[in-house]
Amino acid sequence: MVFTSLSFLLFYPLVVFIYFILPQKLRWGFVLLASLYFYTNIQPVFTLLLLGVSIVTYSFALFIDKSKSYKKKEILLTIGLLLVLLPLFFFKYYNFVNESIFSLLELTGLRWHLPQINWMLPIGISFYTFMAIGYIVDVYNEEIEAEKNLGLITLFLSYFPLVLSGPIERAPSMLPQFKKKMEFNYPMVVTGLQMILWGYFMKLVVADRLSVYIDPIISSIDQHSGGTIFLATLLYPMQIYCDLGGYSLIAIGAASVMGLKVRPNFNRPFFAMSVSEFWRRWHMSLISWILDYVYTPLSFMLRKYKMKGVVFTITLTLFIMGMWHGARLTFLVWAFYQGFFISLEAITKKRKSEIERRFNLTKKVWYILISIIITYIIFAFSFLTGGIRHTVSEGILAVIKMFTHFGPVYIDKTVLLYAFLGIAILLISEFRDEFYPNKFLFFNNKNVIIRWLSYFSVLLVIFIFGVFKGSNFIYFNF
């Protein structure tokens, strides 16, 4: 039951309705049951794994909280984290380690293999594992007290709007919300519904339409001209943004209707003027998680090496982030690609800001535009490292083709026209939010007629131009 399925459109309103007519005391328990039902509906067996991780997380946080000595807390933290990470490693990295280590052994003449296991990845595992780790570390750092109610920890990890693809939330912000009175909050319901509507627009009108054009091209790079690949490469960030961004908005909106505030995942990434700024606007819940639980501890340990330490930490952090997406060489290359640009910016930052100040560049339209375009292109080309779509060498082939066989560009007029219409609406709306916040409002206009006209127009655009073939979300693969 994914957000774009018909069954979710029945499930969600029903859950919200029952939720609000139930007495306060029973509400969190009901959401927990609904969440477990939601997850079981997608992957029955792996609900047990989710419950297992919840129990381990719950117990170790309590153990850490209760133990007196610093040393003992540290040992418990280590064991707890290892146990929580174990399923993730098993499902995500087992085959990778198996294949790569044993193919190395084969070089030395040893022929010994562990059996291949081709289970599917438990959906959402990378997301809820990170939330579990965050909670255990927060308890260790005394940011919050260990929760005494196992049900609330299970709800935190399995809460249905977030369980499949985040945003990766934190216990200090979610647990108190589950505990307090869950009231019907009219402004939050309205904002939530607006987000859900906009999320469906991004996913069904833009992402799924673009995928009709992009996916076949990227999966057979050798059969397309350089120019076609170039266009697909430039469009792909828009597809993936509207896929995960749309998903996130539906998730955050679904929580908001129930009176729960969830952290944002994107902040108009395509208006970033540098790669490092881009990463503060893109998949923010993942980035801030990595910053707090990986980057900060690492760079703190290496702080005496100053700039060298910083560059090393950035690269290592990005490596871990790449590996989080999957154990593939492509993600490793991707990490080095991003690491290169972010490090370059870190090293040249002082000089750059001096020049910007001297010529007052950050106020000049042409400078803003060029910075935005360059940042976008750097990001777009990072996907040619392959990800889950193709190999690194195919990506290199694609770049070579762009320069040697640009050739005619394949244009599917209807698909691209529909997609560009969606992109235009999206970008104009984001342009307004970026440069003219609180002006030219549609969803939040004071005039009730304009408000409802805009809701209906977006709904109409979704029905006319949306793609309804029950597609999945890209981030379910992670």
């Binding site: 750092n141 490092s276 503060r280 760079s299 702080r303 910083v310 800001s353 001096e354």
Partner: protein, 79 residues
């Protein structure tokens, strides 16, 4: 060393690391208020502070520094 001495030294460090000669710091100032104060320069700031005051922070303390005021409190507690 009292609070104003710490502030004086700290202002110098902030101006140098964040390359902003006119930066004024106050208790309520956070990283969000200052251009260039991001996760990269933050760790360089921490290192400079440690060297200038000859102190060593712990990671836990780092997580508790939500604004300049809290940073000053922790520095003073270590002097």
């Amino acid at each position: 060393m009292d609070r104003s001495d710490v502030y004086e030294k700290l202002t110098g460090i902030f101006r140098k690391v964040l390359s902003n000669d006119s930066l004024e710091i106050s208790d309520e100032l956070t990283a969000n208020d200052v251009e260039n104060w991001d996760s990269l320069s933050h760790m360089l700031l921490i290192t400079e502070v440690e060297e200038t005051f000859s102190i060593k922070f712990r990671l836990k303390e780092l997580n508790k520094m939500h604004n300049v005021g809290e940073m000053v409190d922790i520095i003073i507690s270590k002097l």
